[in-house]
C-alpha cells in the first residue's frame, strides 16, 4: 500500500514545490505534474509529458498533488477497472456549485481530471496482470471542460493521444482459466463529449457530492471521502452532506436505492433534461420521483426497434417485458444501451435491474 505520509504530503508539497513554473526536466523520477501543458493547444502528444504518475507509470502511483477519488456508482466500461484522480493548479481548490445542480463540484481553470482504464489480463489475478488501456483527461479550460484520450502502448511505457479513437482485440484469461477475447473500443473525442455534455456544455460526471459521499480506504483505514478530500485541500470547506447519496449498486443498501443508483451512474448522464438522451423523456436520476419519468409504464415513443415489441420501459414485476432489460442485454448497436462505447453486456447490471423490476408492484394501463 501507499505510504501514509505521501497522502498527507500530497497537497502541501504540491503547493511548496509548485508546478510548471519552469519546463520539466527530461526524465526525472517522480516528476511534478506539468499541469499547465493541459491548457496548451495542442496538448502534449504523450501522457508522460504531464508527469502525473511516477515511473514506471504503469503502476499508476500518482505524484504529489494528484489526488485519487472514487465514485459510489461507476459507469460500466466493458469490465475495465478505473482509477480516478484530480490535479488542481497550485493554490486552488474546488468549491461546491450553486446552480440548480447544487452538489456539482466546480473546479478552477487548469484543473485536470484523470481516469485510467485497465484490465487484468488474467481475470483470476487482475492485480498482478494489469494492462493499462487508456488514460482519459478532462481539462478545465477557460471555455469549459475539454476531453482528451491517450492510448497505452503494448510495452506499457507510454500513452499516445488519439482523437479518433482506437479498437483493440484483447486476448485474456477468463475466470475459469480459459482463453477468451473481447473487443475494446477507445472512444473518440466526440464520443467522450456525447456522455459529458449537458445542453452543449461538458461537465464532469462523477464529481458531484452524491457520487463522492462514500467511504474509501486510505492508509488501510475506512475514511469518509468528503472529509478526506477536504483534508487533502481539494475542496474548500467541507461539502454539505446530501440526503440521498448514490450507493454502491453491489453493496448492501436496499434494492431500490442500488437500482436507482446504478441507473443514474450508467444512464443518467444522457437520460436527463439537457442530456443527449433527454429527448426520450426519461430522467434516470436517482432523485427523480415521477414514476413515468424514470421508466415505470413509460411507452417507447421514439425507441424504434429498441422497443423490441415491448410496450413499456419498465413493466412492474415483469423484467422480461421491460424495454430496459431488452436494451441492457443487447449488443446490437441499434438496440443496446448505453449506445457507446460498450461492446459487452454488464450482466451484473442486468441482474440487478431485473431483480428490481421484479420487486415492483402495480400494473400499466
Amino acid at each position: 500500500m501507499f505510504p501514509r505520509s505521501i497522502y498527507k504530503a500530497f497537497f502541501w508539497v504540491f503547493l511548496v514545490a509548485g508546478c510548471g513554473e519552469e519546463p520539466a526536466s527530461k526524465a526525472p523520477i517522480d516528476p511534478p505534474a506539468n499541469l499547465e501543458l493541459a491548457l496548451q493547444d495542442p496538448v502534449p502528444p504523450v501522457i508522460s509529458a504531464y508527469g502525473f504518475f511516477r515511473q514506471p507509470m504503469v503502476a499508476m502511483i500518482p505524484v504529489d498533488g494528484v489526488v485519487p477519488y472514487q465514485v459510489a456508482s461507476p459507469l460500466w466500461a466493458d469490465g475495465a477497472e478505473k482509477e480516478r484522480f484530480i490535479a488542481l493548479p497550485p493554490g486552488t481548490t474546488a468549491r461546491i456549485g450553486d446552480d440548480e445542480e447544487a452538489d456539482r463540484w466546480v473546479f478552477p481553470e487548469g484543473t485536470v481530471i484523470i481516469k485510467n482504464f485497465w484490465f487484468g489480463m488474467d481475470r483470476r489475478a487482475p492485480e498482478t496482470t494489469m494492462r493499462l488501456m487508456e488514460t482519459r483527461l478532462l481539462v478545465r479550460s477557460a471555455e469549459g471542460w475539454v476531453s482528451h484520450t491517450y492510448v497505452w502502448n503494448e510495452s506499457q511505457t507510454e500513452a499516445t493521444r488519439h482523437v479518433a479513437g482506437k479498437r483493440f482485440n484483447l486476448a485474456y484469461t477468463d475466470l475459469e482459466g480459459a482463453e477468451a477475447t473481447q473487443l475494446y473500443i477507445v472512444p473518440n473525442t466526440n464520443q467522450c463529449n456525447h456522455c459529458h455534455e449537458l445542453d452543449d456544455v461538458n461537465h464532469t460526471l462523477g464529481l458531484v457530492t452524491r457520487q463522492l459521499q462514500r467511504t474509501v480506504v486510505r492508509d488501510g483505514i475506512d475514511v469518509e471521502q468528503l472529509s478526506w478530500l477536504h483534508e487533502q485541500g481539494v475542496v474548500s470547506g467541507r461539502p454539505p452532506v446530501v440526503e440521498q447519496p448514490l450507493v454502491n449498486p453491489a453493496g448492501d443498501a436496499p434494492l431500490d436505492a442500488r437500482a436507482r443508483s446504478y441507473l443514474e451512474g450508467n444512464c443518467g448522464h444522457c437520460h436527463r433534461t439537457g442530456g443527449n438522451g433527454g429527448t426520450s423523456g426519461l430522467t434516470l436520476l436517482a432523485r427523480e420521483t415521477h414514476p413515468a419519468a424514470y421508466g415505470i409504464c413509460k411507452s417507447p415513443i421514439a425507441a424504434g426497434p429498441g422497443a423490441g415489441g415491448r410496450t413499456a420501459d419498465i413493466v412492474p414485476g415483469e423484467p422480461d417485458s421491460s424495454i430496459f432489460i431488452y436494451r441492457m442485454q443487447s449488443t446490437d448497436p441499434e438496440i443496446k444501451m448505453p449506445e457507446i462505447p460498450n461492446m459487452e453486456v454488464d450482466t451484473f447490471g442486468v441482474d440487478l435491474i431485473s431483480e428490481w423490476i421484479l420487486s415492483l408492484s402495480g400494473a400499466c394501463q
Binding site: F168, S299, E334
Partner: protein, 418 residues
C-alpha cells in the same frame, strides 16, 4: 485501491495482443492512412480538408471531422468509405460535402458501434452530396442543434421491406432551423425523414419511398412540408403529436403541394413502435396534432385511405402516463387537395373494421366536431372527397359520413423561410 507495485510491462505484453501492433499513431502520416489533403493544388476548391477512401479511412475521416475548425468544409472524394463505428461531428458551422449522392458512399453495412451512421451535435452544420448506406441504426441524426441542412443526400437501406433496417433515415431531433431538401430516403423501418421535437422546419423536394413512414413530423412546431414525393411507403406523410415527450406541442405544420401516392407496402415496422400501428395503405395521417394545414396535395392510389384525422387511441397505439397530453387533433385545416383512387383495399385495423371501400378521408368519432367550438374544431373543405367515420371511441362501427360536420374555414399556416 489506486496504487500498485507490480512488475509488469513484460508480463503484460506476454499475455496481451493488440490489433495493430505498436502502431499508436492516428495522424494522417500513419503508413496505412487514407489520403487526406489540407493544402496545396490537390485540395479541391472550396474545401479546407479533403479525404478520399482507402487505408484507415474511418480514422482519418473521423479525425478530420474532430480537428476541423468552426466554419470549415470537409470534402469527401468519390468512392466507398466503409465504417465499423458511428461517424460524428460536433464542430459548429461545419460543411461535410461529398462528390454526389451516387458517387460518395458511406457504407455502414458492417457497423458494430453507435446507434447512428452519422451523428451531428454541432450547430449550423451542412451535410450535402453523399450517401449513407445500410446504417445499423438511424442514418443521420442531428441532435439538439440550432441550424442543420440535409441537402442532396441519399439515405438507403438496400433490403426491401425489412424490419431489421434502421429506424430513421434523416433524423433531426430537439433542434431548431432544420432544412431537409432534395434528399432521397429508402428502406427505413420507421420513418424515412423524421423530424422530431423540433421547430422552424422546412422539408422540401425530397423523395421518400420504401419506408414504413415516408415523412414524419412529430411533436414539432412551425414546419413546412412542400413539393415532396412520398410513394410506396406503408404511409406517406405523418403529422404526429405523441405523449411522454419533453416537447409537448405539435402545431402549425403546412403540408402542401406534395405528391402522396401508392403508399401500399404492408407495415413492416417493428412491434412496439407507434408507427408500426399505422395501417399500410395510408396516404397521410394527422394524429393528435393541432393547426396542420393540408392543402394542394395530390393524394392518390393509397389502398386504405388518403388521409386519417385521428385521436391518440390507447387501445391502438399503446398506453401512456402524461397528464399534460392532449390526445385530440384540433384546428386542423384540410382543403383544396386532389383525391384519386384511395381506399381500394383497406388494410390492417381499418380493414378489420369491415371497411371494404375506403374513403379519401377517415376521422374517428372521439370528438364531436361541434360548430360552436372554434378553439378546437377541425375544418375540411374538399368538394371531391368522400369521408367515413370509424367510431373508435364508440361502438367500433364504420359508416360513410357527411363532411358538412367539418364545414368551416380554418387558419392558414405560414410558409417557412430558411
Amino acid at each position: 485501491m489506486y496504487c500498485r507495485f507490480i512488475a509488469l510491462p513484460l508480463l503484460c505484453s506476454l499475455i496481451f495482443a493488440c490489433e495493430s501492433g505498436d502502431d499508436d499513431i492516428d495522424s494522417p502520416a500513419a503508413p496505412d492512412a487514407a489520403p487526406m489533403v489540407d493544402a496545396g493544388p490537390m485540395l479541391p476548391e472550396g474545401c479546407d480538408h479533403f479525404v478520399e477512401p482507402g487505408g484507415d479511412e474511418e480514422t482519418v475521416l473521423q479525425a478530420a471531422l474532430i480537428n476541423a475548425q468552426m466554419g470549415q468544409t470537409v470534402c469527401l472524394g468519390a468512392g466507398t468509405f466503409s465504417f465499423l463505428g458511428e461517424v460524428s461531428t460536433s464542430v459548429d458551422g461545419l460543411t461535410v460535402r461529398g462528390a454526389g449522392a451516387d458517387e460518395t458512399i458511406l457504407d455502414f453495412t458492417n457497423q458494430d458501434l453507435g446507434a447512428n451512421g452519422i451523428y451531428v451535435s454541432g450547430d449550423g452544420v451542412t451535410l450535402e452530396d453523399f450517401q449513407v448506406l445500410n446504417a445499423k441504426g438511424d442514418g443521420i441524426r442531428g441532435d439538439s442543434v440550432d441550424g442543420i441542412v440535409f441537402r442532396r443526400l441519399k439515405v438507403i437501406w438496400e433490403n426491401d421491406n425489412d424490419s431489421s433496417n434502421g429506424a430513421y433515415g434523416v433524423y433531426p431531433v430537439g433542434s431548431t432551423n432544420v432544412l431537409v431538401e432534395n434528399c432521397v430516403v429508402k428502406g427505413a423501418s420507421d420513418a424515412g425523414i423524421y423530424v422530431a421535437q423540433s421547430s422552424n422546419i422546412l422539408v422540401r423536394n425530397n423523395e421518400a419511398y420504401g419506408n414504413v413512414a415516408g415523412i414524419e413530423i412529430e411533436n414539432s412546431t412551425d414546419a413546412e412540408v412542400v413539393d415532396n414525393h412520398a410513394h410506396d411507403n406503408s404511409a406517406g406523410i405523418l403529422i404526429f403529436t405523441l405523449p411522454e415527450l419533453p416537447m409537448k406541442e405539435g402545431e402549425r405544420c403546412l403540408v402542401h403541394r406534395n405528391l402522396i401516392e401508392n403508399n401500399n407496402v404492408p407495415n413492416f415496422g417493428r412491434a412496439g413502435s407507434v408507427v408500426s400501428n399505422v395501417p399500410g395503405g395510408t396516404g397521410a395521417m394527422i394524429l393528435a396534432a393541432d393547426e396542420t394545414e393540408f392543402t394542394e396535395n395530390i393524394v392518390r392510389g393509397n389502398h386504405t385511405t388518403g388521409l386519417m384525422l385521428i385521436t391518440y387511441i390507447v387501445e391502438l397505439l399503446g398506453p401512456y402516463m402524461d397528464d399534460g397530453y392532449d390526445k385530440y387533433p384540433e384546428r386542423n385545416w384540410i382543403h383544396d387537395n386532389t383525391w384519386m383512387e384511395n381506399g381500394a383495399m383497406p388494410m390492417s385495423v381499418v380493414g378489420d373494421f369491415g371497411v371494404v371501400d375506403g374513403p379519401d378521408i377517415i376521422a374517428d368519432g372521439c370528438y364531436d366536431n361541434v360548430q360552436a367550438d372554434e378553439m378546437r374544431r377541425n375544418c375540411v373543405a374538399e368538394a371531391g372527397a368522400d369521408y367515413g367515420v370509424l367510431q373508435i371511441c364508440g361502438d367500433l362501427s364504420y359508416a360513410l359520413g357527411d363532411l358538412s360536420l367539418f364545414d368551416c374555414v380554418g387558419t392558414d399556416v405560414s410558409e417557412i423561410d430558411l
